[in-house]
C-alpha cells in the first residue's frame, strides 16, 4: 500500500498531477483512491490531495502516521503538512514560495523552511520545478516537472513504470512541451535520489502497513 500526499496552492495543478498518477496506478491493476479538494479552498488557498494505491485500501484518507510520499508544489505548504511525515516519508518539494494573500504577512526564510523539512524526514528532495518550467517556456508546467521527478522514484521502486506515467502525461495534449517538462524532472531525480529512498518505497509497497 502506498499513501501519497500532494500539497500546494489552489491553481498549481495538483489535481492534474494526482489524476495522472492515479490513472497510471489503475492501468497497472492497483486499487486506487484519490481524495481531492474542490470548491472554496481552491481559490488560492492551501490544498491537499491524497492518493492511495494498493489492494487493502478501503478508505479515502490515509492513516495519519502512514504518508509514504509527500509531493509539495510549494514550500510553505510543504512545511504546513510536514506534521504528516514519519521519519522516512519521502518528500519532494518544489523550491517555490507563493505569498499567502494576507496584508503584511510574514514568511519564514527559504533556508529556515528547508531546515524544518530536513528535520522532519531523512528523505527530502528539493527541485526547481517552477524555474525549470519557466525555462522551458511554460508558466503552468511545474506540476509536470514534479511528476517527472516522482516518476523516477516510482519507476526505480517498481511501482509504476516511466513509460506508463509518461503515456498518461502525453494524453493531456501539448505533447512536445509536456514531454520536455516531464523529462526535466526525471533527469533531475536521476542525479539526486538515493538507494535508501528507493528501498523504503519498495518496502512500503510490499507491506500492508508502513515500512
Amino acid at each position: 500500500m502506498l499513501n501519497v500526499l500532494i500539497s500546494g496552492v489552489g491553481g498549481q495543478g495538483l489535481l492534474t498531477l494526482s489524476r495522472i498518477l492515479g490513472q497510471a496506478a489503475l492501468s497497472k491493476g492497483f486499487k486506487t483512491y484519490i481524495a481531492e479538494t474542490h470548491g472554496m479552498s481552491q481559490r488560492g488557498g492551501s490544498v491537499s490531495v491524497f492518493l492511495r494505491i494498493g489492494e487493502d485500501v478501503m478508505a479515502p484518507l490515509p492513516p495519519e502516521d502512514d504518508v509514504n510520499l509527500h509531493i509539495s508544489m510549494e514550500l510553505i505548504e510543504a512545511v504546513r503538512y510536514s506534521i504528516t511525515h514519519n521519519e522516512r516519508t519521502v518528500v519532494v518539494v518544489n523550491n517555490k514560495v507563493i505569498r499567502p494573500s494576507l496584508p503584511g504577512v510574514r514568511i519564514p526564510s527559504i533556508d529556515d523552511m528547508l531546515e524544518a523539512l530536513k528535520k522532519s524526514t531523512r528523505n527530502l528532495y528539493v527541485t526547481d520545478a517552477s524555474d525549470a518550467s519557466l525555462r522551458l517556456g511554460s508558466t503552468i508546467g511545474a506540476n509536470i516537472v514534479m511528476l517527472g521527478f516522482v516518476t523516477y522514484l516510482l519507476d526505480k521502486s517498481s511501482i509504476l513504470s516511466k513509460d506508463l506515467v509518461l503515456g498518461k502525461v502525453l494524453e493531456l495534449g501539448s505533447r512536445e512541451l509536456n514531454a520536455r517538462l516531464f523529462e526535466a524532472g526525471y533527469l533531475d531525480a536521476t542525479g539526486k535520489v538515493t538507494q535508501e529512498t528507493i528501498d523504503y518505497l519498495v518496502n512500503v509497497m510490499k507491506n500492508a502497513g508502513s515500512g
Binding site: D65, S82, H85, P103
Partner: protein, 631 residues
C-alpha cells in the same frame, strides 16, 4: 478521460469521482431528467450529466435554486420519467417544502434526491446531517461508502423508487463525492425523457387527500422498512461475539482499522447502506449472542439512536457504544476510528508517530480572490470609501466568491448567513439601526434567493443599498451558467437591471468594478439617494469572472501579457500587495513590488491603484482585443 467520452464504454474499470459515479449510475439506471443548483460538494453530478445530455437525449439543467430543481425533477417523475435532483446539504433546506410532500404523494418514475453533506465544513456554513431528513420525511436514505458503491447504488435506486412509487434520498459526504475510486462501467439502456401524466387525487394535497396520503405513506414505510433487509448494500461480514456497525463512509475506516489490529476475523461487522430505515431484521441477526456493540458513523448518532431503540424493542440489553467513543464533530479519520475500536475491544492503542510540529511557524493561507477577479478592485474601493468618508455602515454579505471579502484587508462581510440573506437580514438591520446597510450579493445568488427579499424591501420602502456583483456565472462552485450568462443556445439571458427595474426600483446603476473612480462615485451617490428617497437603490457591478476570461483567451489563442513593476518608479508603498492584495504581487526585500509572471493574468486592474504609475505591461499588446473578452 472525460465523462462524455466514457459513456461509449462499458465493461472495464475506470477511476471516477464519487459524483461522476453517481451520474454514471443514474444513466445505467435509466435516467431521463436531471435538475440541480450547484453547491459543493454536489456540483459534479449535474455537471457530468450536462456534458452528455445532447448525445443521450436526456433533459439536464441547472435550475435557479434547489427548490425549483427539486420541483422540476419531481414533476418529471410524476410523468413516469426517471428523475434525479442533486444538492449540497444546506440546499435541502431550500427544497424541504416539496421534499416533505413528495413522500405523501409518492411518485411514478424513479425519483432520486441526492444530498451531498459536508462534514468538517470544507465549503459550508454548517455540518448538518441530512439523514435526519429521511426520518423527518419518511423517505429512505441510502449511503454509499465509495465511488464504486455509489455507482451501483444509484443504478439500483431507480428500480427501488419505481417499485415503491416513492422518492429516495442518496446521501453522500465530501469524501465520497470528491474521492475518485475504481468503478466498473455497466451498460447504459435507451433513455427516455418523455412520459405521460396520469391524473390521480394523491397529487392534489388538499386536506381530504392529504389524510389518505398520510395513511398510505405509513403503510408504505412499513413495506420499505422490510425491503431494506434484503438489499446488497446492507450485509454482515465476519463473525464474533462483538459487533461493529458502520454506516456509509465509516465502512472503509472500520475495515482498515480491524485489519490493522488483526481482529477482522474475530469481530462481526454490520455494514449499513440504509441508515434510514435501519434494516431491523438484519440487525436482529447481527446482534445474536453479541455482548457489546460499537456504532461508527460520521456526524450525528442517526444509526446509534435507532439501534438502541431496536434493541429495546427486541428486549435485549447489549451495551451500545458510539458517539461517546467516536465523537460528533468533523469528518472521520483513521485515528478516531482506531482509537474508538481499541477502546471498545480493550486493545492497546498507540497514537500515530509523526514528526513533531515544525519549529518554523508558517502563515495561514485562506482562499482569496483569483488574480484578475473583478471583485478585488471593487472591495478595495469600498473599503477606501467607507474609511475615507467615515461612513457608518453594515456590510450584509452573502454566499459566493465575494464571501472572501470577509478576510483582511477588505473586511466587507459583517454578517453572512445563507443564500439571499444579504438582503433579507440587511433589511432587518436597516429597520433597527442607523447604519447604512450595504447588501452585497452575487448574480447567481440573487436569482436563487435575492428576489423575494428585494421585493419586500422595496414594498416596505427601506433605505438600503443593494450591490449586485455580476460576473455572469456561478463562479465559486465551478462556473455553472446562471440567467446572467450570455450564451447562445437554449437558454435566455435575463439581465439583472431589467428585473429590478421591473420591480420598480428607481435607482439602478451599472458600473465596471475595474473602474474604481466610478465605483466610488456611484456607491456614494446611492448612499445619499437611499437616505433621501427612503427606498432601496441597486448597483450592478459587472465584469466577467477572470477564470472564464482566461479560459476563453486560451481557447482563442490570444496571448496574455503579464504586467511588471518599473523598479525606479516604485516607492514601496505597499498599496498593491497589502491593500489591493493581488496574489501575483509580492514585496521584495526592498519593499518594492514584484509581479510573478506565473500568476499574473494581465488584467491591468492594479495599474490604477498604483500612486506612482509604476505598473506597466511587460510588452506592447493590443488591449482592445483582450478587453473584449472581459466584457
Amino acid at each position: 478521460m472525460s465523462f462524455r467520452s466514457s459513456i461509449r464504454l462499458q465493461g472495464g474499470k475506470y477511476l471516477l469521482l464519487g459524483n461522476e459515479a453517481i451520474a454514471r449510475g443514474a444513466l445505467e439506471g435509466g435516467l431521463g431528467f436531471a435538475a440541480a443548483y450547484p453547491g459543493t460538494p454536489s456540483s459534479e453530478i449535474l455537471e457530468s450529466l450536462m456534458t452528455v445530455r445532447d448525445v443521450l437525449g436526456i433533459h439536464a439543467e441547472w435550475s435557479v435554486n434547489e427548490k425549483v430543481a427539486f420541483e422540476a425533477a419531481y414533476g418529471a417523475s410524476l410523468a413516469g420519467v426517471n428523475a434525479l435532483t442533486a444538492m449540497k446539504h444546506v440546499g435541502m433546506n431550500v427544497a424541504a417544502d416539496p421534499l416533505m410532500s413528495s413522500a405523501y404523494t409518492g411518485v411514478e418514475g424513479g425519483f432520486v434526491v441526492v444530498t451531498a453533506d459536508d462534514p468538517s465544513m470544507h465549503s459550508s456554513q454548517n455540518e448538518q446531517d441530512n439523514r435526519w431528513y429521511g426520518i423527518h420525511a419518511y423517505i429512505p436514505v441510502f449511503e454509499p461508502f465509495d465511488a464504486g458503491e455509489a455507482k451501483e447504488m444509484t443504478k439500483y435506486l431507480f428500480e427501488f423508487s419505481r417499485r415503491f412509487k416513492h422518492p429516495v434520498i442518496l446521501r453522500t459526504t465530501t469524501r465520497v463525492s470528491h474521492t475518485r475510486g475504481v468503478v466498473e462501467l455497466g451498460p447504459i439502456p435507451d433513455l427516455k425523457r418523455a412520459g405521460k401524466f396520469v391524473k390521480e387525487d394523491r397529487y392534489v394535497v388538499m386536506p381530504a387527500n392529504a389524510r389518505v396520503n398520510r395513511v398510505r405513506l405509513l403503510s408504505k414505510w412499513g413495506e420499505i422498512s422490510e425491503a431494506v433487509n434484503d438489499i446488497p448494500f446492507n450485509r454482515i461480514e465476519g463473525d464474533g461475539e462483538v459487533l461493529v456497525i458502520s454506516s456509509g463512509n465509516a465502512y472503509g475506516y472500520v475495515v482498515e482499522s480491524l485489519k490493522r489490529f488483526n481482529v477482522r476475523e474475530k469481530v462481526r461487522h454490520l455494514k449499513v447502506g440504509t441508515p434510514v430505515p435501519l434494516p431491523r431484521r438484519l440487525l436482529s441477526n447481527a446482534v445474536k449472542d453479541v455482548s457489546k456493540i460499537l456504532v461508527v458513523e460520521e456526524l450525528d448518532p442517526v444509526v446509534e439512536v435507532e439501534v438502541k431503540a431496536a434493541l429495546h424493542d427486541m428486549g435485549l440489553n447489549a451495551v451500545v457504544r458510539g458517539k461517546d467513543l467516536v465523537g460528533y464533530e468533523f469528518e472521520l479519520n483513521h485515528v478516531r476510528v482506531r482509537r474508538a475500536i481499541a477502546k471498545f475491544l480493550g486493545l492497546e492503542y498507540v497514537e500515530p508517530q509523526v514528526a513533531a510540529k515544525s519549529q518554523v511557524s508558517v502563515p495561514a493561507r485562506p482562499p482569496t480572490f483569483c488574480p484578475g477577479c473583478p471583485y478585488r478592485p471593487l472591495f478595495f474601493e469600498l473599503r477606501r470609501l467607507v474609511n475615507q468618508e467615515r461612513i457608518p455602515y453594515v456590510a450584509s454579505g452573502d454566499i459566493g466568491c465575494y464571501s472572501l471579502s470577509y478576510n483582511p484587508p477588505y473586511r466587507m462581510q459583517d454578517v453572512m448567513i445563507e443564500m439571499g440573506s444579504s438582503i433579507g437580514v440587511g433589511y432587518g438591520l436597516s429597520i433597527t439601526t442607523n447604519d447604512n446597510v450595504i447588501a452585497i450579493i452575487g448574480d447567481s445568488t440573487f436569482y436563487h434567493a435575492g428576489l423575494p427579499p428585494l421585493v419586500n424591501a422595496l414594498w416596505h420602502r427601506r433605505p438600503m443599498v443593494v450591490l449586485i456583483l455580476d460576473n455572469e456565472v456561478t463562479a465559486m462552485t465551478g462556473h455553472q451558467p446562471a440567467p446572467s450568462t450570455r450564451r447562445e443556445g437554449e437558454t435566455c439571458h435575463i439581465p439583472i437591471e431589467s428585473i429590478v427595474s421591473g420591480f420598480g426600483v428607481k435607482f439602478v446603476e451599472v458600473v465596471d468594478p475595474y473602474d474604481v473612480k466610478a465605483v466610488h462615485e456611484i456607491v456614494r451617490k446611492a448612499i445619499s439617494y437611499v437616505r433621501e428617497a427612503r427606498e432601496p437603490a441597486v448597483i450592478i457591478a459587472r465584469r466577467r469572472c477572470a477564470l472564464e476570461v482566461m479560459r476563453d483567451l486560451r481557447r482563442a489563442g490570444v496571448e496574455v501579457v503579464p504586467y511588471t513593476v518599473l523598479e525606479d518608479k516604485c516607492v514601496g508603498c505597499g498599496i498593491c500587495y497589502d491593500w489591493f492584495l493581488c496574489p501575483a504581487i509580492t514585496p521584495k526585500e526592498s519593499k518594492k513590488a514584484y509581479i510573478d509572471p506565473e500568476l499574473c493574468v494581465g488584467c491591468s486592474a492594479c495599474v490604477q491603484v498604483c500612486p506612482t504609475k509604476a505598473i506597466v505591461p511587460l510588452k506592447e499588446y493590443n488591449k482592445d482585443e483582450v478587453e473584449r473578452f472581459w466584457r
